[in-house]
Symmetry: C2
Subunit: 350 residues, 2 copies
Amino acid sequence: MLDGLILSIDAMGGDNAPDIVVKGIEYFLKHEGKNRRARFLLHGDEAILTPLLAKYKQTAARSEIRHTDIEISMDEKPSQALRKGKGSSMWNTIEAIKAGEANVAVSAGNTGALMAIAKIRLRNKQGAQRPPLAASWPNPNGMGVVLDVGANIDCDAAQLTEFAVLGEAYFRALYKVEKPRIGLLNVGSEEGKGNDVVKSAHERLSQSELDMNYIGYVEGNDISTGGADVFVTDGFTGNVALKTAEGTAKLIGTYFSAALKSGAWSKFTAFLNGVALRKLKKQIDPRKVNGAVLLGLKGIVVKSHGGTDHVGFANALNVAIGLAESNFIEETERSLEALHDEDDNIGFIA
Amino acid sequence: MLDGLILSIDAMGGDNAPDIVVKGIEYFLKHEGKNRRARFLLHGDEAILTPLLAKYKQTAARSEIRHTDIEISMDEKPSQALRKGKGSSMWNTIEAIKAGEANVAVSAGNTGALMAIAKIRLRNKQGAQRPPLAASWPNPNGMGVVLDVGANIDCDAAQLTEFAVLGEAYFRALYKVEKPRIGLLNVGSEEGKGNDVVKSAHERLSQSELDMNYIGYVEGNDISTGGADVFVTDGFTGNVALKTAEGTAKLIGTYFSAALKSGAWSKFTAFLNGVALRKLKKQIDPRKVNGAVLLGLKGIVVKSHGGTDHVGFANALNVAIGLAESNFIEETERSLEALHDEDDNIGFIA
């Protein structure tokens, strides 16, 4: 029985778990989550979590510890995690949403292990063939979604087409845009550019009668300038692109801090710490886009960066809540069904 | 006979040619090129270039127009450019360095056409199998080089290995670092990550006795944070990564300008226009990294962004001059010879 939203949390996942996980929940409850009735299932070691919760009153009041002393380490291989991970904090985090005890799962743990466990436990016949990981990235119009950002390294045209359908459903559910612009990431926008997989996916998407707003090829710069709402690509390219964008934002943040401390600037720092500067700092803060989502499963799984801090983890909780309150699962199922019907009709082989 | 450096310029190449080309040369001569003895061969339509040069006195004094009324358009396919492009401004720009009339060629024209013509005219048996395009990108330590950024969309492990060797020679010649750190772009830094091509290139680079400073896998964020000096990747991934970085820098520049104009900030704009702010603006100005170089040919070919302005074009001239004054061609030949010897010895098949 769900009374308000329940988040299933892998309390032991991440470089600085469980500290930043619990601190992140507290931060969320004091900020964006202030007026939410959200509650939390914390999967992890009771002996560590109980004293930690004593320090974070709001979190303690809303949480229930689900004890396990099994953990999946950050460098464990996905195959090992599947063999030995049963009953671990990560496994139980996923299991709770499968059992209907929680609405959404969040983990900052080992990405490969999380994807493997989520796929084994939450994939069904109507779901995605190879669930992609989708991440949000800001642009002057708001937010865009890039997928796959690392779940599937090698992709064929059928998978890229499926990513387009899943990305559309995700964007529509999260940002309430009826017909988001779907772009296929390529090295140029002209016909004839790209490798065979991209060209074949382009042909398929152009000819599809799924009534998506497919706008054709887009390029790397479009991700930050807003040239599309959904950027479809394989997990290798998407991972490199997103990390490159994050690195660039970090570099410019460094320049910015250095400039603020240098020479004439420092004299005005007091004035500069006004609304505009705080807004600017927030805009280029990579923690504010933390939280990628595994699409096409029977359940919502949010992956936080392993190295994030409590502010970043709180943002992943935001993403999770936004999705849990949306009709994302239904949207996805409807879209996938239409795609699979079309696949059957045209006998599409990648 | 070369008296000082001579640059062979495709005056008609680029979205805003020949205006920004000639204005770019003038800008270069007034700034970074102030104390240079550089001269210019301008390939293009005399009837357009002569009145343009009348407006730019310094450029006029250092330039010689090489007339042609043939142009390669920005959307021409490489195959068409090869068939119909003989005698065009771009073709003649390349031909002049082949003939020894100039030290380096610069064009802001059609990238595919430029690569095709340069390869046909300047590749020799000792050169690179598939010349990659190398671009520079800033990091807190200075500059890094990413290659390939778009010349070869599909690459095998042997090509990635060749890119590593070429990138090392390029970085050493341009930035005077004896043993630059060579990284292979991947989705994670752990062994076992990536696709088959990347894994095979990693194995080859790890076992090579070429005495390179190969540091293994690097990720997208390392490009801007300086995790390596040379980033090796295929032309698809490299193109997306670099354009993503450019787009991100542009986005943050937009945020920055908006913040400067808003509320309290505007009152201090006069003060803020000090040294630090100008330096910061320069640091995040994508024009300052304009100028990619085609490696592994018998001659130096610099590609400017087609859509850049005069400041960007001037930076491409800077890159060209730096390379022309270096021992880049000799470095490259020596490195490629060593690589090809090793290939022969180990019978390496990609």
